[in-house]
Assembly symmetry: D2
Homo-oligomer: 298 residues x 4
């Protein structure tokens, strides 16, 4: 397995494809944005004039697109990629999309004799560049086994969540929980500060107690408590509020489709969306801390 | 410091006092419940006919009472214990009460020349018996230093959260956050299960990802995922729903007193209270998992 | 306009079609349920062997189906009804469906030269039988004018909410608000009762004050306050909890599609769904009152 | 009953006292603010050098103070007004305070032989000036009967909610419900607008349907829909956000004291408080509409 077709050279896909090039794979990519293709060629990649051309000769295909509709449009239909891909060619879709879409595309792939996994990632642009992403995979064990050499080039942790679509479900559940614990941590820290506590001391107490969670461990939302996190850099970079809103939207869709009651996740979606509407969509999601604070200007 | 006066031999206070006895202290206790006193004497303790008698001769005083009003009634007023305690005697109040009450009693203690700390605990009855409680302390550094030998007999971890009342604030913040992450974890697990995922697999994925938190680490709420936790024992024992409701009530009081916005903590209080009203007040708080599930009988 | 094709003889559609028969129209109906067709014939209606047969000769078509997918399947596609209906024939869809679906079908109708309105109703089975429904209409003014004689046979109030799909949007917004004011009223009444107030007295005070709303006016959720409402009849009949859950699902879909923040509506969806999961899906939605009450058995 | 002692000449108390003067009563007032006393004298009132002097000779006493602590401080204690008031003198407290405080003061009044009612108002500064306030009364029927001539001078509607404290409870419940229906109405209108509906048309549809409520009737939160309401005047005047936050705080206290689950009221408190923290505490509470809207500057 030497030749890879890669579709989607955005903020995440670009560095992922480059890491495959660096590992010695021959990667032929397609993207609608000309400059992304040019940059990829400069970094040692090949470019193709269309998605079909990028995959026609490939041993494996990787795609990284913004949303369900792009993935469905890419693979399905009379002119979809599943018609162009050779049966038996491994397909890895790393886009974060609705589980229903992932299942639909996977079913079509199965009909076409194409082994496919959904493998959404966490870890952000930094993880994509460093090759330390986490992949949460749905699909057959055999397909995952074939995919592992590629995934291990682009990431550090690989979880097998279950059958087709399960990668998407697990990512959605995780990110919904992340929104809840981040918002809950921000709220608890603010309550402490409003009572006169030092946020660093309170963070340390809760981190080692039953309030312990990922945010207190590595991503404290209160400015000045932790170095090298977005909260200590005016919430620049990181995982953007509007991306969290997008993922919470996927969670709500999934809750509607399965008649699931999600009071906490629904509330964080409303809070994050209100936060975004006040002009904070383009900063890190730990900025929900400021939602709880008095402000002269926002 | 050999002689300890101990007030309050309940589910928590009883084993805490016994651990002091076992460590070689002479502990004279008072409680309103005759049988608690008898049991304490059987385990090597002394009993006193009143709270004042229990502390009159003591080098240090420990109290463990249900609520703010009991602590205020014990220490304050013309016949309060602060009149009976010798100036300079160390006082440790381990009750979980309102920060405002803790500050009020601490101020009165200071006026009476009595060094006092608020030192609420976490760890439950199991931790009280095993001597592995966590103490979250508010008060002067010097008083905490004097208290440490006693706290180390009764517990394993000691955190200094700040000035008088800060122990209560930190505990309240921690437990509010705990209620949020437990409810959020239960909700996320249920969403995954409703989508066909295995709760054990999903738990493991989220535990190692950005959804990681104390509940996934040591107290998984989904039955069968983890051994030796309440969820795998029909939610018997553990930290009772009604105690969480009590602590969330203290958090809400504190939020009101400090004009703090607590959408997440307010919501979990409403959910836990609704859960309690349907007959679940006396089981473990991780049973909030069942709130998200269909039920024939409740 | 004498001949009507009617698709969907369910709990709502059945009596609506019968009212058209009583008003002198020749109504030819189709339904997948044989007994519904037999009953309709007994009440003076005509039956057709298929939906296409029901409408082939009609001056106007009325449909009343459960959900978006049924409406889309009925009208769209190569074998859809829009191919069978004569251009110029008025179509009234009274189903409650997603605005996006309503717009899609309306656009297809326009292409086929078929004037169409979306006209979801409120008023329940009782209103359908009595011919006192409220129609909330989206579509062209001209189409609404043609439809009025029919709508006035089946209902009492007709609102024109805007262009195609606007009837669905307005109904969804109204029912989301209804869920909020019903739940808020129940919560406020319970808080008063828990403080010792008489629910009838409190209801009257709030009804005449700034808390006044439809629930206090005609549909009080507290048992015994008002006669002839579901709360005084063990919450039997009325507007079922599961139908409110369905409508709140449509509201959430619409909120997702338009990036709308809906903290209140999201919360009531979660509460109503939790209420349903405990076995209350088949009783009136004012039973949310019991969510706030202690219960031995549920 | 000709001579009235009046305590508290604030924004509400000032015009209430003036209306009593205009009706022919001899009103002797006390306030801590000198300018309020001077203005009152200009409008025909008498001033007293202390609260005790204001009531020593009175046939009836009216008080209008900011919060529980002020009312308790005024009436209770060795130097409290209940010691200065002649037994049998009617006392009307129109402050909005905690029911627990109202009951405590009423019990002390009863012990002192002083008939007392709690009579909080709604209607705002406009209603106070116009003499069109609504009084919600708790206390004995006989005391209310004596009070009616005075209340009818200052207000238009009088409700008897129950025993001592019931006036406060009913007002708190009403205002909690008001916050819920105002927020729910704003959210529903925004969802409609985001879907392309005209807010005026949607308001009219919901007003006449099951979403009908006081906000849609007389206090529409969407700018431009209704004339002469705060939303059409940049949310100036009206009932301030921070006063709603205060009343919701009383509701939460009462919910805590009675173990009541209030998910909706808790959520609106959090939303209103967040709204206030972003600089909107001093504008009308219907401005919660803007919480749901995109904003360049806030």
């Amino acid at each position: 397995m030497k030749k890879i077709g890669f579709i989607g050279l955005g903020n995440m896909g670009g560095p992922m494809a480059v890491n495959l090039v660096k590992a010695g794979y021959v990667v032929t990519a397609f993207d609608l944005v000309e400059s992304a293709l040019e940059q990829f060629v400069e970094q040692g990649g090949q470019r193709a004039p269309s998605a079909a051309d990028a995959v026609s000769d490939a041993d494996a295909v990787v795609s990284m697109l913004p949303a369900s509709k792009h993935v469905e449009a890419l693979y399905l239909g009379d002119e979809g990629l599943l018609s162009a891909i050779q049966p038996g060619t491994l397909v890895i879709d790393s886009s974060t999309i609705a589980p229903e879409s992932a299942k639909k595309v996977a079913a079509a792939a199965e009909s076409a004799g194409v082994p496919m996994i959904d493998a959404p990632v966490s870890g952000g642009v930094g993880g994509a560049i460093a090759g330390t992403l986490t992949f949460i995979v749905g699909g057959e064990e055999a397909a995952l086994t074939s995919a592992k050499p590629l995934l291990e080039v682009m990431g550090k942790n690989i979880f097998h969540a279950g059958a087709a679509g399960a990668g998407q479900v697990a990512k959605i559940c995780n990110n919904m929980l992340l929104s809840v614990l981040m918002t809950g941590t921000a709220e608890a820290l603010q309550l402490g500060v409003n009572n006169g506590l030092d946020p660093a001391v309170l963070s340390e107490v809760m981190r080692k107690s039953s309030g312990g969670n990922w945010a207190l461990e590595v991503y404290n939302p209160y400015p000045g408590v932790m170095e090298n996190v977005p909260s200590s850099n005016a919430y620049q970079g990181g995982f953007l509020v509007d991306l969290m809103v997008k993922d919470l939207g996927l969670a709500m869709e999934s809750a509607l489709a399965t008649q699931s009651s999600t009071p906490m996740g629904s509330l964080t979606r409303s809070l994050y969306l209100a936060h975004s509407k006040k002009g904070h969509g383009g900063i890190d999601f730990s900025s929900i801390q400021t939602y709880f604070q008095s402000s002269d200007k926002s």
